[in-house]
């Protein structure tokens, strides 16, 4: 029982007991003396003396207790917290020995122990760092390789939880608030049936190298993807996890469907007027003019047929834009390829790019133009060329320029009928033009030189784009073998998934109409903050933001003007936090704003909640300051000034503080969520526990 009380309470109780004991001893002594004296008239004197002595004893004991509490108990608590931070949270730096100046050699000894621990740790860290650097380099190279794989890759545990995903997978199965998250069920993003069946099918084969092709569909947006599943792991009798590679076929299927529909329409719209015409012609006697009504009918049918063919032909030309091999190719790369090919034929060439991205099949265009240059060289028309790309309306124009003789169309037509490459006898150069919906022709330039013009219908300027979202891979392979505990209360702290969040608001009083203007959150999975899984969005509060609030968080009314309303953002946040423990610094404040929205949203924010204010009190005692600044300072976490009081800056700082508090809580013997909450409730007078 006493062990559960803090040191300061125990010392207080000790002094209280001492005072009570002394008072009892005083009372007993005075009673004995009075009886022994046997003189009733001295009673008042004994009572007065006793009261004075009792006050003196209580005062003296209280004074000594106060000195002891301030100079011994409290410093011991602070020293213990500081030592614990150094032992469990890798905090470094000098300890404040002055606060424990009445503890004799204890403070210097603790400082020396901390310094020694730090030195040992540094030496160990250096050795580990050398090896880690090597492994980190290898890891970075592997990550770069995996992030560049042009298909989406998911790695799932046997119970279908995500342990790895790359940037392409994010693009395919959902971005923004619907973006994938580690340790989430893959079925949150992809429909369950085909994946589960393929998994069972592969397990039934008993062949570790077997793979299964399947067609799966996203839960949101019904994007259809071709997928391949391959099992991995599954040693020790555990259900094996699997790798799922994804390729979007929605566009292919839509393009194919459009072409099929167009073809069907061609037959339909041509067959009917053609049949009608044949019928009409049949009834007109040969050699005589068509009677009035028949003549009108003939004209109508002919007009209809001609219009149908013209329109269908135009649509067919447009549908060629769906062509698969046409990608955006940098003109500089194209010209470099051409220069290499033309120079390899012993011809001279200079190039001028225009910083354009041309939508074309670069290989075919290079083969076509270099082939034509080679023909001209052989024909003796030119040996030196100037290759230019220039902007041409919404497209680009490739010009092969030479001085000397002009190129007759007849010769050009003849060359265009030849194979594109020596080994491709059935692919004529002209087919490249058809594929790109373009033409090529010779022109005479004003300076007397000649050029071959090849327009590329679609191009755009190369512009400096904002830094792209990193296509990093996100993973934690420990999740593949993670044991799951059904009850949050019994789960170890580092087994749980957390969403650490912070809100910025128009003011401090939600009951009086203050609203959220920003929500930011990060996820902690398997004891690690996942860099790529961030929720950070401004909110339109539908009311003015007081200047005093803007001065704190820097969010102005102009910034939130086009932001979504709180109902939409809160619903997305609810999805982001699904299945996680919520963590905030001073959680009742943030939770009050969210819980007020529950009736409107039809959702409950009934997640388990941890508050870093209370966790700080558990670790450091209530006498410390538990502001986010003070806590992060004690834990050696630096919040960049520009991030301070921004929702995401405070969120990351809170998350990092929690990650450092976690081993310190374990050091106190608080291993499970239930144990931590039980301890937190003892600090209820500091803040209300929300669980």
């Amino acid at each position: 029982m006493l062990n559960r009380l803090s040191l300061r309470v125990r010392i207080f109780l000790f002094f209280a007991a001492l005072a009570v004991g002394a008072l009892i001893a005083l009372g007993v002594g005075l009673t004995l003396g009075y009886r022994r004296l046997g003189s009733p008239e001295t009673l008042d004197a004994f009572v007065q003396g006793g009261v004075v002595a009792a006050f003196a004893i209580v005062g003296l004991v209280a004074w000594v207790w106060y000195l002891f509490d301030v100079n011994v108990a409290k410093p011991i608590d602070i020293l213990a917290g500081a030592l614990r931070a150094r032992a469990h949270a890798d905090v470094t730096g000098e300890m404040n020995a002055a606060i424990a100046r009445y503890l004799g050699d204890l403070a210097p000894a603790a400082t020396a122990a901390a310094a020694s621990l730090s030195e040992t740790r540094n030496a160990l860290a250096e050795a580990v760092a050398r090896e880690t650097t090597r492994l980190t380099d290898e890891k970075a190279r592997l990550e770069a390789l995996l992030s560049d794989v042009p298909v989406g890759v998911l790695l799932c545990s046997g119970d279908h939880a995500l342990a790895f995903y790359n940037g392409q997978a994010v693009d395919l199965i959902g971005a923004g608030s619907a973006a994938p998250g580690l340790d989430r069920q893959v079925f949150d993003y992809l429909r369950q049936g085909p994946i589960q069946l393929a998994h069972e099918r592969l397990m039934a084969t008993g062949d570790p190298d077997a793979a299964s092709d399947l067609l799966c569909t996203t839960v949101n947006g019904a994007r259809v993807m071709a997928a391949r599943m391959r099992l991995m792991g599954g040693d020790n009798g555990a259900i094996p996890g699997y790798v799922l590679t994804l390729r979007d076929v929605t566009a292919d299927m839509a393009s194919q469907a459009r072409r099929e529909a167009l073809l069907a329409e061609v037959f339909d719209r041509v067959r009917r007027p053609a049949a009608n015409l044949a019928t009409l012609i049949e009834v007109i006697p040969e050699g005589s003019a068509a009677p009035g009504r028949l003549d009108t009918a003939l004209r109508e049918e002919v007009l209809q047929l001609a219009q149908a063919v013209t329109e269908l032909s135009r649509r067919h030309d447009e549908s060629r834009d769906d062509g698969w091999p046409l990608t955006m190719t940098r003109d500089f790369d194209l010209l470099e390829g051409l220069r290499a090919r033309i120079e390899a034929d012993g011809l001279g060439v200079t190039t001028t790019a225009a910083d354009l991205l041309l939508r074309c099949n670069g290989f075919e265009i290079i083969a076509l133009i270099s082939g034509l240059a080679e023909e001209m060289g052989k024909q003796g028309l030119a040996r030196d060329f100037d290759l230019q790309v220039q902007e041409d309306g919404t497209g680009g124009l490739i010009r092969l320029i030479w001085a000397g003789a002009s190129l007759p169309m007849a010769l050009l037509d003849q060359w265009l009928e030849r194979p594109l490459e020596p080994g491709l006898s059935d692919v004529a150069r002209r087919s490249v033009l058809a594929m790109h919906a373009t033409e090529i022709w010779p022109e005479t330039l004003p300076d007397g030189r000649y050029c071959l013009c090849l327009p590329i219908p679609q191009a755009r300027r190369v512009v400096r784009r904002p830094a792209p979202i990193a296509r990093a891979v996100v993973y934690d392979f420990d999740l593949l073998s993670k044991a799951r505990n059904a009850k949050v209360q019994d789960a170890r702290l580092d087994d749980l998934t957390y969403v650490v969040f912070d809100t910025e608001t128009t003011g401090l009083l939600p009951a009086q109409g203050d609203e959220i203007v920003q929500i930011a959150a990060v996820r902690i999975v398997n004891g690690r903050r996942v860099d790529g899984e961030v929720f950070d969005t401004l909110v339109n509060p539908r009311r003015p933001i007081p200047l005093s609030s803007t001065e704190v968080h820097g969010i102005t009314e102009a910034m939130v003007q086009d932001a979504p309303f709180v109902e939409e953002v809160a619903a997305r946040f609810h999805k982001f936090a699904e299945g996680a423990v919520l963590i905030a610094h001073n959680a009742p404040f943030d939770m009050e704003f969210l819980r007020r929205l529950e009736p409107k949203l039809g959702l409950r924010f009934d997640h388990p909640v941890l508050d870093t204010v209370l966790l700080s009190a558990v670790v450091y005692g209530q006498h410390e300051v538990h502001s986010l600044d003070a806590l992060t300072h004690r834990l050696g976490i630096t919040i960049p000034e520009e991030a301070r009081h921004t929702a995401i800056g405070d969120t990351v700082a809170t998350a990092d503080a929690f990650l450092k508090l976690m081993p310190m809580l374990a050091g106190l013997g608080l291993q499970t969520f239930g144990e931590v909450v039980g301890e937190v409730r003892r600090h209820g007078r500091l803040l209300k526990d929300l669980n």
Partner: protein
Amino acid sequence: MAEVARKRRVLVVEDEDNIAIALDYLMTREGYDHDRIANGAEAMDRIRTTHPDLVLLDVMLPEVSGYEICQGVRLDPDLADVKILMMTARGSAIERRKGLALGADGFISKPFELQELRQEVRRLLGAAS
């Protein structure tokens, strides 16, 4: 004394007989002196010998394409005043551009409205005069 207006000469280079019949009908109705040739290979010689005011030139011809004939006419300084109106059944913007780049004075897509063709011919022959 007023000069007697010379009849404008139009050469139709078209391999499809039915279109040629329609063009023959139109040119007659418009009062042009016209002739037709179906073979692209003979077209250049005919243009040189008859020196028409306007050539109605189909793009898709057997043996020699309309583009080739157009380029040939433009490379011949003696034929600098011959106007060329190209005709094609495909009529995409890029073909029109190619025709104009090779020296055609106009480009018309088949099937064409007679009114449109009439106006285009009048425009070019007006410019030729």
